[in-house]
C-alpha cells in the first residue's frame, strides 16, 4: 500500500450538517481524504455514513458547511459536477441498470468520456464509431481486471449478488475516477467474495492510484484495507485516525458496544 502525502488533500469536508426535518443526519462533520489513500468511514447503523457519501457526490445538499474537492470549495456539490470532476461511486443496495447487460452497464460508465453527439451516434458512422470502439477496448480491460469475462453479455438482473457488486465496481472504474466512493462494497458477501473484492480494491488503489473512500461494516476488512479511518455515531464524528488508533479509542468502543450514558 502506498503511503499518501500528508499535505496532498484531494477532498476536504468542513463543518457539514444535514437534517431531514427534525432528524439530524450529520452534525458539524469535518474530515479530509488525501490523494492516493484508502479512507474508511465506519460507524453503527444510522450513523450517517451513507448520508456523508451522498453529500460528497451531490445527492444531498448540506445545510451548513463546505466541500473542497481538488482545491475548489463549494457549499454544495451537484451530481453532474461530482461525476465530471472525477467522483465515481457504488451504492449500498446495488444500483445497476437492471435491464442491461454487464457490458452495457460498464459502457454507461464511459458516458462522460464520449465526445461525439447524438447525430453521429445515430448514424453510427465515422468518428462516433471509432470512439465507441476505443471505449469498448478500455471497458474490456476493466472486465479482464475484474475477472468477469464470462458474464459480460448477461443481463445484470440475472447475476448473483456478489457479481452484481463487481459489475457496479466496474461501472465506477470505467469513469476513471480520481475519487472512488464505495458504499459497503462487501455487504452480503461470503468470505471468498469478500477476499476477491478486497483484492480488487487494493489493486485499484495500487495500480491505478485511485483514491478511495469506503464505508464498511466488516472491521477486519476495514483494518486491513484502509490507511485512515473516520468514525461517525449519530451523525457526529467521534474519532479519526489510523486503524490502530481508532481501535483503541474508548468513544469508538463505547459506540459499538453500547454503554449506559
Amino acid at each position: 500500500m502506498r503511503s499518501p502525502d500528508v499535505n496532498d488533500v484531494l477532498l476536504k469536508v468542513e463543518g457539514v450538517s444535514l437534517a431531514f426535518g427534525g432528524i439530524k443526519a450529520l452534525t458539524d462533520v469535518s474530515f479530509d481524504v488525501r490523494k492516493g489513500e484508502v479512507r474508511a468511514i465506519i460507524g453503527p447503523n444510522g450513523a450517517g455514513k451513507t448520508s456523508m457519501l451522498n453529500v460528497i457526490n451531490g445527492f444531498y445538499h448540506p445545510h451548513h458547511g463546505s466541500i473542497t474537492f481538488k482545491g475548489k470549495t463549494r457549499a454544495r456539490m451537484r451530481p453532474y459536477e461530482a461525476s465530471r470532476g472525477g467522483i465515481a461511486r457504488t451504492f449500498q443496495n446495488v444500483a445497476l441498470f437492471r435491464g442491461m447487460s454487464a457490458l452495457d452497464n460498464i459502457m454507461a460508465g464511459r458516458t462522460l468520456k464520449m465526445q461525439y453527439g447524438l447525430f453521429w451516434q445515430a448514424l453510427r458512422f465515422g468518428p462516433a464509431l471509432r470512439e465507441e470502439i476505443e471505449h469498448r477496448c478500455r471497458v474490456e480491460e476493466i472486465i479482464d481486471f475484474l475477472e468477469i469475462e464470462a458474464i459480460r453479455k448477461v443481463p445484470v438482473a440475472r447475476l448473483p449478488y456478489g457479481l452484481q457488486k463487481r459489475v457496479e465496481l466496474g461501472r465506477a472504474l470505467a469513469m476513471e475516477p480520481d475519487l472512488l466512493l464505495l458504499d459497503e462494497p462487501m455487504a452480503g458477501m461470503n468470505l471468498e467474495e469478500k477476499e476477491d473484492m478486497s483484492r480488487f480494491i487494493i489493486e485499484v488503489n495500487d495500480y491505478y492510484g485511485t483514491t478511495i473512500a469506503l464505508i464498511e461494516h466488516d472491521m477486519a476488512v476495514v483494518m486491513d484495507l484502509s490507511n485512515r479511518v473516520v468514525v461517525l455515531d449519530h451523525g457526529v464524528k467521534i474519532a479519526d485516525g489510523t486503524p490502530d488508533e481508532v481501535k483503541r479509542n474508548q468513544a469508538v468502543i463505547d459506540a459499538y458496544l453500547g454503554v449506559a450514558h
Binding site: Y80, S83, M100, R110, T111, Q121, A174
Partner: protein, 309 residues
C-alpha cells in the same frame, strides 16, 4: 359464410390499419421506456404535429412553392415545433419533478395535454384540414383468383412501410448507440445514472423529441386518412389496448399489439358483427386488452416486473 377472398381482404386491411395504431402506440412506449412515465399527451402531440405540418404546408403552397419542396419545409417546421415542445415540457413540466413518483409525472402529462390541445388549436386553427401526402386510392390484387380481387389501400401500405422503417431505426438507436444506452440507463435508475454523469434533463429532452417526431410521422399518415382535426387526439385511446396487449416497454410489442388489434377488430366485425348487431370495431380492442390483462398483465412482450418485498 364469407368467401375466402373476402377473408384475405379483411385480414390484410386489418393488419395494415393495425400498423397505424402501432405508430401512435410507439410514441407512448418510447417515453415509458425512458422515463417510466405514461405520457397522456401523446395524442395531443399527434394533433400539434399534424396541425403544424398541414397549416405550414397550405401557407407555403398558397405562396407558390412547388408541392414537394413545401412538404420538406413543412416537415422541417413541424419537427422544429416538436423540438420546442420537448424542450418546454422538460423545462417546465418534468424537469422540476425529477425523482418524483410515476403517478405524479402521469398527472403532469394530463395537464400538458390540455395545454397542448388548447395552444395548438389557438395558434393553428381548429377546423378539419385535409392533408394529401400519400395516395388514397386502392389496388385490386389477384383479380384472376378471386372475384373482384383483393382491395388494398395504398395509404395503409405506406403506413406499414413507414412504421417498419421507424421501428428498425428506433431499435438500432436504442440498442446500438451510446445515447440509446443512456436512455435505458435513466429509465432503470435515476440516481445511478446521475452518478455516472448522465445528464437527465438532456436525456428527457431527447426522449420527448423522438416521441414528438414519431407523433409527426403518425400525423402524416393519420392526417391523410382522416384529415387533421381535433378527433385525432382520440387515437391515444386506441393506442392504450395496443400497449396493454404488446407490453408497455416493448417496441416490437407495440407493433404486434397493433397487428392483433387491427386484424382482430376487422375480423370480429365481419364474422361476429352480423350475429350480434355490428359495431364491434368500437369496443373489441378493449375487451381483447381486458382478456390479456387477466392472463398476462405485463403484456405479450413486456418486462415482468418482480418486486422484492
Amino acid at each position: 359464410m364469407v368467401a375466402f377472398g373476402q377473408f384475405v381482404e379483411i385480414l390484410i386491411g386489418g393488419l395494415l390499419s393495425g400498423v397505424l395504431y402501432s405508430l401512435v402506440a410507439l410514441g407512448f412506449v418510447l417515453i415509458f421506456k425512458a422515463s417510466g412515465v405514461f405520457n397522456f399527451a401523446q395524442g395531443a402531440m399527434v394533433l400539434l404535429a399534424g396541425l403544424a405540418l398541414v397549416r405550414s404546408l397550405d401557407l407555403l403552397v398558397a405562396n407558390g412553392f412547388p408541392f414537394w419542396s413545401a412538404v420538406i419545409l413543412g416537415l422541417a417546421f413541424a419537427a422544429a415545433i416538436m423540438a420546442l415542445t420537448a424542450w418546454l415540457v422538460e423545462r417546465f413540466v418534468l424537469g422540476p419533478l425529477v425523482n418524483q413518483d410515476g403517478l405524479t409525472l402521469f398527472m403532469s402529462t394530463i395537464g400538458a395535454t390540455f395545454v397542448l390541445e388548447g395552444v395548438s388549436q389557438m395558434v393553428f386553427g381548429s377546423d378539419v384540414y385535409p392533408l394529401r401526402l400519400f395516395p388514397t386510392d386502392a389496388w385490386f390484387l389477384f383479380e384472376s383468383l378471386f372475384p373482384g380481387g383483393i382491395l388494398v389501400n395504398k395509404l395503409d401500405v405506406w403506413g406499414g412501410l413507414i412504421a417498419g422503417i421507424l421501428v428498425a431505426g428506433l431499435a438500432v438507436f436504442f440498442q446500438r448507440t451510446s445515447t440509446g444506452r443512456a436512455l435505458r440507463a435513466v429509465a432503470d435508475d435515476h440516481a445511478a445514472a446521475q452518478s455516472v454523469g448522465i445528464p437527465i434533463s438532456w436525456i428527457w429532452f431527447v426522449v420527448w423529441l423522438v416521441a414528438g417526431l414519431v407523433a409527426l410521422v403518425a400525423a402524416t399518415v393519420w392526417g391523410t386518412k382522416l384529415g387533421v382535426q381535433f378527433s385525432i387526439t382520440f387515437l391515444a385511446l386506441k393506442a392504450l389496448p395496443v400497449l396493454i396487449i404488446g407490453g408497455f416497454t416493448s417496441i416490437p410489442g407495440a407493433i404486434v399489439g397493433g397487428l392483433i388489434i387491427g386484424a382482430g377488430e376487422k375480423i370480429a366485425e365481419a364474422f361476429l358483427g352480423p350475429l350480434i348487431g355490428g359495431g364491434i370495431e368500437y369496443w373489441f380492442a378493449y375487451v381483447l386488452a381486458l382478456a390479456v390483462l387477466m392472463v398476462r398483465p405485463q403484456g405479450l412482450f413486456g418486462e415482468r416486473i418482480i418486486e422484492r418485498i
